[in-house]
Assembly symmetry: C2
Homo-oligomer: 211 residues x 2
Amino acid sequence: MRKTMEKDLSTEQKIKDAARKVFMTKGFSGCTTREIAKSVGINVALLNYYFRSKGKLFELILEAALSDFIDSMVEVFHQDLSLEEKTRMLIDKEFEFLRKHPELPLFIHAGLNQSSDNELDQSNFLGRLHKTGIFEQCEQAQREGKMRKVNMINVTLLFMSNCHFPIMSKKLVCGIYQMSDQEHEDRLNEHQEIVKEMLINYLFPNTTKNA
Amino acid sequence: MRKTMEKDLSTEQKIKDAARKVFMTKGFSGCTTREIAKSVGINVALLNYYFRSKGKLFELILEAALSDFIDSMVEVFHQDLSLEEKTRMLIDKEFEFLRKHPELPLFIHAGLNQSSDNELDQSNFLGRLHKTGIFEQCEQAQREGKMRKVNMINVTLLFMSNCHFPIMSKKLVCGIYQMSDQEHEDRLNEHQEIVKEMLINYLFPNTTKNA
DNA sequence: CTACTTTTTAAACAATTGTTTAAAATAAGT
DNA sequence: ACTTATTTTAAACAATTGTTTAAAAAGTAG
C-alpha cells in the first residue's frame, strides 16, 4: 500500500478530500461510505482498502481538522509581536480562517463527542502551543502588570468563544433574527472589530482606549 | 390519540423524554428508533403510532430544546431591573442552566444543520424577545449614552458566545489542556465571573469599574 | 357480559448499512 | 514476454435501518 509511487495526490488523497467534505457537512453517522465513494468516483471497497474502516477514516479527518485548527493559532504566536498585536492578528486570522471553513468548529465539537477516546493528546497540541513561547510572554506581561491576571485556559476560552461561536451559530442567529446571508456577513464583519476591542480592553486594561 | 385520558405523563411523554435524552447525546442519525423505544421499554411500532416518524419526533424535540433555550433569556428580560443587573443575572442564569444541560447548545446547532427547513420562525422567538421590552430598554440606554452603541444582534452574539461556547467546548478544552472534570468545573466557575465583568465593562463603559 | 375504541405488540417489509471476498485490471520488475 | 505486486471493481454478506401490517391486549361504556 502506497509504496510503489509517491503520487499521493491520487486516490488516497482524493478520498481524504472527499471524506473531509462529506463528514464536515453531514457528520460521521449522517453519511455513508457509498456516498463518499461516489463523490470520488470510486468503488466502496476501495475505501476500505486504503483506510481500514469508516471509523478509521473519520478519526483521520477529525485529527487533521484539529490540526488545522491549532495551526492558525500557532502561526500567529510564533511571530515577534507584542501581545496586543498578537491579539489583533489572532482574531483577524481566526475570523478569516473560519469564514473559509465555517463548518469546522461544529464538526470538531460534534466529532469529539462521538469519538470514544480522547486522542487529542496524540497530536500534542499543548506542546505545540508551548513551543511558541506564548505562555511565557503572557506570564511576563502579567507580572509587569501589562496584562490582566487571568488563567491561560480562561484566555483561550475567551478567544475561542468569541471567534468560533459567531461563525458556528449562523443558522441559529439567522433563524432567530430573520437575517439574510448578506446581513449576517455584515454583522460578522462588525463583530470582528467588536471582539478585538472588547478583548484588548479586557486583557490589557492599562493601554489607552481610543479605538 | 391522547383523547381518552389526560395522564400524558404516560407513554407519549415518556417517549419524548427518552427521545430527548438519546437525541441529545447521539444526534439524529447517531441513534436508532429501536434504541429510543428500548430505553422507554416499549415496542418500536408504538413510537410511530404516537409520532409519525423518527424525523417528526426529532423536530419536536429540537423545537422544544430551542424553546427552553430562549425561555431562560426571556425570563430574565421580563424582570424589572437595570441593564447591568439584567446582564449579570442573564449570564448567571445561562451558566446555571447550561451546567444542567451541557449538551443543549451542541445539539441545537448540529440539529439545525441537519434539519432542512428553518422552522425557527414558527416558534416566534423574535416576538417573544420583543415582548420583554429588552430592545427598547437597550435603545434608551444607548441614547442616554449609558450603553455602548452596538447592534442588538452583536449583543446577542456576545452573550451567547461567552455563555454557550465555554460549556460546549468542554471536551476540546479538556483534551487540549489535559484537564480533569473538576479542574474544568473550577475554570468554568471563574470564567463565569470573567465574562460578567468583561461584558459589563464593554457594554456599559461609563460605570465605575471596581470589581 | 358485550361491543367498541384505544393502546401495545410481534412480525415482516424493503431498503440501506459497513465490510469482505474473489476476481479483474493495471502497473512494475525481471 | 512473463511473473509478480498493486490497484480497482463487482458482487455478495450479514446486520441494521425506519416503517408498516395485522393481530392481540387493555381500557371504556352500555
